[in-house]
Symmetry: C2
Subunit: 479 residues, 2 copies
């Protein structure tokens, strides 16, 4: 096992079951993993077996962000988890949350590590971290994400490492910088997405590593790269908007670093950017998707800073095969840095995230259907939206095959307020809400973004607002 | 006029009318002023006379924050203003906004200067800045606030200075640091509230100063310092909460720097803190109220960093008389720095702001009544709430002499989402919402914060939510 450079630590290799036995009922477990990359894949299964055998585990599980089914799925189905932070995207876990069986709180990803280190979420008993190598001094080289692993390792009483040989030794990909708590916090010395400001591995006292489990399972991987007609049109509207801002002198050329959410729209945006002729741009994002590798290959992207690599299996292979080259163009950081208010604001990041729905005031719902059904969670969208140089939300104009408008009078759950949403873009157009009054925004959103079929009833809503409200600044929920 | 160190500039002293004549109809004016401190008091009146004489001025007025009636009141009443950013608290301006006669958009105070410099709000034609001195090189020493004056001076084509001799020469009070736009933005090198990182005056090319108007009118001044029974009890609950967090090791001793909003509750908090025996704390806030001087005198406060001094006339005198001493303990910064996400997060600021109402999810309304009637605006509350180490909102449990509950099922306008509100405090108690699910938060808010008379109907709302909703994560608006 030459991935473990510390001879004494090699003696701590045990089975997943033996490692899981070190985790006490009622305890808090911090796990690596960020949007289905770099999460532990064996110890959770062994914990689930204990729960299935009747043990009342009542675990609190804190991750970086969403993780694969081998973690959130098996634990949720087995009943091992009582409480879960800060984000998820697993079908069975989501069902348990929406049934009230698992307590869940949605937490800004960029703030989670601070909350953990300052003790607000209680002590972390065990960290379970997927690694690609362990160094002589105990330092842990992560796999395809950093997430909050640096904070979990720092805070945990004990550390279980899942050493995954399905991933090559990724030394040199990561840049680990963990801010001190106030009053000792210093400026984060990052002024370009490509700056390296920390260490290549997560510092860890070797005495804290209580077990090492050998793993050979690849990440389930991120979504595919095929945009459809609607997402492509959204992406075209976005790129046209950005180019127009450049022409007007309100955006630099090359563009400020981009952050783009995961999924079909994110991939469509990357594709259209690649085709637009823009070159040499940087990404300062949380999740880097498969399309990023193509954009680096073509020169569209000069450098990509992220927190996780959420690649399809084919792009995982492409990345591993070209690792020596790609690591000059890609860095993975802790989510506290990738999603840092300080850095996002300094770089003037263009933040592009997906809305479930947006309302006539410009409020955005990113998390709930009908106000009571959690989808995934707010994730990092708030970290970026609140502090970006330009905050864009994209959404198809309609959902459910055109049956529902995604531009609504009032969103059923507010995740981003009218104060934070600069531009809303659908396949019909881009509404620039900056400096606009509530009524001006409503008109822009109806006439530019809403699907034509829904415009009459949205106009009617605004007519009612104008007639029925005694005051005329703000768009309330009418009965 | 020995307050003007540049001989050539002395020749540009003119009447307010002559200065106002330099402002063209349809243009954008950036004015000094932040919460009724340091705003120009004569040129606006001269502009109003032009409007009253029938000229169609259609001005866009951008300030730091709210300003006195000599600016917002006279301009609103005269019909000179078409558009107003980013905050206000004037009765007549508010009425015009709520009637739809003046277009207004609520903008985070900490983000305004960036939006102005990057051109998003259009060019600034004229800056009108109240000063206590003008230096040989044209630099402008502000009066009782900095606000966005540094940015307006930098961006404006021409600068009109109102030199106010009702205020002593305040050289040494201010610390002017204006970040460069991306991609040249550097880390803000501020790690303690007392750090000075910039210049004592606002840099200004003397050729840009087109007119100087002599003024001798004091600021209207901030609110008084008399807390009532309810606000005192809210303050006691807050201080007890903070002390408990210190005991639990989740907050340091001395406390991290405090930010506290303006008004009766703000003053009550400062009074109770002073009586609590806490000593040596720092303030990192936007507006510093009268009580701050007493706290500095008594040693409760070691250092106070702000953007404006909103003192009653008696405390203005106290400050001017003791200026040589106080300027060692007080600094005024541009609002981009006092409200900087980067600095607020780095310092782990405890942010305490007032809510109009809070709902069972933890969403906070800071701006609107009934969703359509603007009160003042979001001001800096979002800058602090989103990035603070601990975000507290305070509100009396009821309004209108007990007729209305300020804890409601669903707020009529969301300014701060459940993701950003850590603790809600009323005179009945403190609800710590961190890491809690939506239902747990609702229960905490009902049983801890709501007035006992309103608890039964709030409980009934939650019973309906539990019964009528098919999913159980989130509290929707029920019909």
């Amino acid at each position: 096992m030459d991935r473990i450079k510390n001879a004494k630590l090699k003696e701590r290799i045990v089975s997943a079951e033996a490692a899981a036995a070190l985790i006490a009922p009622g305890s808090t477990v911090g796990v690596s993993g960020f949007t289905s990359a770099g999460y532990p894949k064996l110890v959770p299964g062994a914990l689930a077996k204990r729960a299935e055998a009747g043990e009342d585990l009542r675990l609190t599980v804190i991750s970086g962000a969403s993780v694969g089914d081998e973690l959130d799925g098996v634990l949720a189905r087995s009943g091992a988890v009582a409480r879960r932070y800060p984000y998820q995207s697993n079908k069975d876990l989501r069902a348990a949350i929406n049934d009230g069986r698992i307590a869940y709180a949605d937490i800004h990803l960029g703030q989670l590590p601070y909350l953990v280190r300052s003790g607000v979420l209680g002590p972390v008993d065990t960290a379970v971290i997927e690694a690609s190598a362990i160094l002589e001094d105990g330092s842990i080289v992560p796999t395809m994400c950093v997430g909050s692993s640096d904070t979990f390792v720092q805070c945990a009483r004990q550390v279980i490492v899942e050493l995954n040989t399905a991933v090559p030794d990724l030394t040199g990909l990561h840049d680990i910088y963990t801010p001190a708590l106030p009053p000792d916090t210093q400026p984060i010395p990052l002024v370009r997405p490509s700056d390296r400001i920390g260490q290549t591995a997560i510092p860890c006292d070797p005495e804290k590593i209580c077990a090492i489990v050998l793993s050979d399972t690849p990440d389930v991987g991120g979504p595919g790269t095929a945009p459809d007609e609607v997402t492509t049109q959204i992406a075209k509207n976005l790129v046209a908007f950005l180019q127009n801002e450049q022409k007007a002198g309100r955006l630099a050329d090359p563009l400020p670093p981009l952050q783009s959410g995961v999924g079909a729209t994110g991939n469509a945006i990357l594709s259209v950017l690649a085709e637009s002729g823009m070159r040499g741009m940087d990404l300062y994002s949380e999740v880097l998707q498969s399309a990023v590798l193509d954009m680096i290959d073509s020169g569209t992207v000069a450098f990509a800073s992220g927190c996780a690599l959420s690649f399809t299996p084919a792009y995982q292979k492409k990345f591993y095969d070209g690792f020596e080259t790609y690591r000059e163009k890609i860095v993975l950081r802790p989510q506290e840095i990738s999603n840092s208010a300080e850095v996002i604001r300094r770089l003037g990041v263009i933040a592009i995230n997906t809305a479930i729905e947006a309302d006539l005031s410009g409020n955005v719902n990113s998390t709930h259907i009908d106000g009571c059904r959690l989808m995934n969670g707010i994730g990092g969208s708030g970290d970026y939206a609140r502090n970006a140089g330009l905050t864009v939300f994209v959404t198809p104009a309609t959902a459910k095959d055109g049956a529902l408008s995604c531009i609504v009078p009032y969103v059923s759950h507010v995740d981003h307020t009218e104060h934070d949403t600069d531009v809303i873009i659908t396949e019909y157009g881009a509404a620039d809400l900056r400096g606009r009054t509530a009524y001006e925004r409503a008109e822009l959103l109806i006439e530019t973004c809403a699907a034509p079929a829904f415009r009459p009833q949205l106009r009617e809503y605004m007519e009612r607002v104008k007639k029925e409200c005694r005051w005329h600044h703000g768009i309330p929920v009418l009965k």
